[in-house]
């Protein structure tokens, strides 16, 4: 059961071969054994989890039969879950018990999933290594000396070590795809507006998007069916008819045109990543797809544009943490202003403070046009490049990350170096496109490599099928790290 896919778990639950309580217990025991090593979870609450599992079993006994009923999963600690501590990886929210459910959490509850716990993450989702978490770094199950990626690093380590068969994540600049690549499983960031942001603690609102993380594309399609949908409580949620994201999984690859951006295959990618990505493309050609070179001439500007837009929006979003209504309040202060300044200085970690300060400066009088407005114009150029590229192809492919998992501490001292580890993923967020990372091999250090797939706007179903067909022909997504067997 530990290594089973969601479809297999779902079938076993339906056939009453296993109960939701048995399944939850199996994973809870595994978390108890392995989490002290990995630090993938910030909060585990056996009683709450088992209560949800009992409820799922009761619903099934009463005749209910949803695909995810009784399936256990973990939530990134950015999603508010009523009655659960929801920290966002920050001291600021160290003792925050969410008084309501995020839409995503509510939808999964309705589907009958069982919450295994809340996963560690970079503080306020700001990081690419999970090292900015107030609750400590997460270890990569493939090599405990290395990072799992970030910001959804706890979700990633949990899936790779099978502490959970699936997890939720969020992706503002690559935070689902990069950890999926570094930990060797499948992660999907939907088109902006497909998954509700309500109750998902905001970082950069015009870029944030929740999405599924699991072993395979088929599992991600099942999860996305539960997660996606219009939500009137999120002002940027898109009013579109509901979709079945599994509907195209069986579609063969013959005739598929894969666009390869020349900008993604230049210098900067490690040899191990390049070799695995090239081999995956050869496999796709073997399976009947054709490849065509495309250009994304402005994609090189995506990291600088992102590091204007994201901090600017973050500085505005995080102004809500004032030590008045919730969150950390300093013990001693001289007056109201001093209380704000001290509470925020104590509650936020170094990277979060850095981004708030950068964003505050960029939005301040006299600098707004030069930074924020200019970055938004460049953002349009980047999005237009993709629209043009999709005239010649159905899906774009390339590396998800320039390197495999790096060592803990290796990039922690140099913010700009850390920012560059998202060089292939950020343009997708700026354009609002759906993107995935799927495992496609290992480098010489036996660390997983991720292949990035980028679909056209709202093309999740097609992209999932393109990933699934590859996973039918390969077994990279079924490999497990030995250290956490």
């Amino acid at each position: 059961m530990i290594g089973a896919s969601l479809r297999e778990l779902s079938a076993a639950l339906a056939a009453k071969k296993v109960s939701a309580v048995e399944l939850a217990t199996l994973f809870l025991d595994r978390i108890e054994r392995l989490n002290p090593t990995l630090n993938a979870f910030i909060t585990v609450d056996r009683d709450k989890t088992l209560a949800m599992a009992r409820d799922a079993d009761a619903r099934r006994a009463a005749g209910e039969a949803g695909a995810l009923l009784g399936v256990p999963l973990a939530h990134k600690d950015i999603f508010c879950a009523q009655g659960w501590k929801t920290t966002c990886g920050s001291r600021m929210l160290e003792s925050f018990i969410a008084p309501y459910d995020a839409t995503v959490v509510e939808k999964f509850k309705r589907a009958g999933t069982v919450t295994l716990g809340k996963c560690n993450m970079d503080e306020f989702a700001m990081g690419s290594s999970n090292e900015t978490s107030y609750f400590g770094a997460v270890k990569n199950p493939w090599d405990l000396e290395r990072v799992p990626g970030g910001s959804s690093g706890g979700s990633a380590a949990a899936i790779a070590a099978r502490l959970a068969p699936a997890a939720t994540g969020t992706d503002t600049g690559g935070s689902i795809r990069q950890p999926a690549a570094l930990c060797g499983f499948t992660g999907l960031k939907p088109t902006y507006g497909v998954v509700s942001r309500w109750g998902m603690i905001a970082f950069a609102s015009s870029l944030d998007q929740g999405g599924p993380m699991a072993a395979s594309a088929e599992d991600c399609a099942l999860l996305l069916n539960a997660m996606a949908g219009f939500d009137p409580r999120d002002s940027t949620s898109l009013e579109r008819p509901a979709e079945d994201y599994t509907r195209e999984l069986a579609k063969p690859l013959a005739g598929l045109r894969i666009g390869l951006p020349r900008e993604f295959f230049g210098a900067g990618m490690s040899d191990g990543v390049r070799a695995a990505v090239e081999a995956a493309l050869a496999e796709y050609r073997k399976l009947g797809a054709t490849t065509v070179e495309v250009g994304l001439p402005n994609s090189g500007l995506s990291v600088p544009a992102y590091y204007v837009i994201a901090p600017a929006e973050a500085s505005s979003n995080l102004s809500r943490f004032d030590g008045v209504r919730y969150g950390h309040r300093a013990a001693e202060y001289a007056d109201l202003n001093d209380m704000y300044c001290k509470s925020r200085a104590e509650g936020f970690g170094a990277e979060v403070k850095r981004r708030i300060l950068v964003g505050t400066y960029m939005l301040s009088h006299g600098y707004y046009d030069a930074y924020y407005l200019q970055a938004q114009k460049v953002r349009r150029l980047i999005a237009a490049d993709f629209a043009k590229a999709f005239e010649d192809c159905d899906v774009i492919m390339g590396p998800a990350s320039p390197s495999t998992a790096f060592r803990l501490g290796e990039k922690a001292a140099d913010p700009v170096q850390m920012y560059l580890s998202d060089i292939y993923t950020i343009a997708v967020n700026l354009a609002g496109l759906p993107g995935m990372s799927i495992p496609c091999g290992f480098d010489a250090n036996h660390l997983p490599v991720g292949l990035q797939l980028i679909g056209g706007w709202f093309d999740e179903a097609r992209m999932l099928s393109v990933a699934h067909q590859y996973q039918l022909a390969t077994d990279w997504h079924r490999r497990r790290p030995a250290a956490t067997a």
Binding site: F96, I97, P99, T191, Y192, G193, S206, L207, P232, S235, T236, L238, L301, V303, P304, A305, Y307, V308, D322, G323, V324, R325, Y326, H328, R329, Y333, D335, L336, N337, D338, M339, Y340, C341, K342, R344, A345, F348, K353, R354, I356, L357, T360, Y361, S364, Y371, L373, Q374, A375, Q376, K377, V378, R379, R380, L381, P415, V416, Y419, A431, G432, W457
Partner: protein
């Protein structure tokens, strides 16, 4: 352009984040690194390009003006640092 120590103090004041004198220099260097990195955007010709504020062009939806939430102030205030009689307490502002 490069930030001075006074710029850092001004930005920190605007952001309501206390930065100690010992932290100012390190913060200044890091912010200048980041600003130096994004500087390359300035040389891009964006004349006539409409700024893109959201990934998908949508108009602001308006909801019907009716009550949709129940009164849960006790739940919401249970997580506040300090309350009294349903009010949030802050240090005295007016003498």
């Amino acid at each position: 352009m490069s930030l001075s120590p006074d710029d850092v103090r001004r930005i920190a004041r605007l952001a309501r984040i206390e930065v100690s004198d010992a932290e100012v220099e390190r913060t200044r260097l890091q912010l200048n690194d980041i600003l130096g990195f994004v500087e390359q955007l300035q040389s891009i010709d964006t004349k006539g390009i409409e700024p893109m504020s959201h990934a998908v062009d949508v108009v602001q939806r308006l909801r019907e003006d009716r009550v949709t939430e129940s009164d849960r102030h006790a739940d919401f205030q249970a997580i506040a640092p300090e309350t009294e009689d349903s009010l949030y307490l802050v240090p005295k502002v007016i003498e």
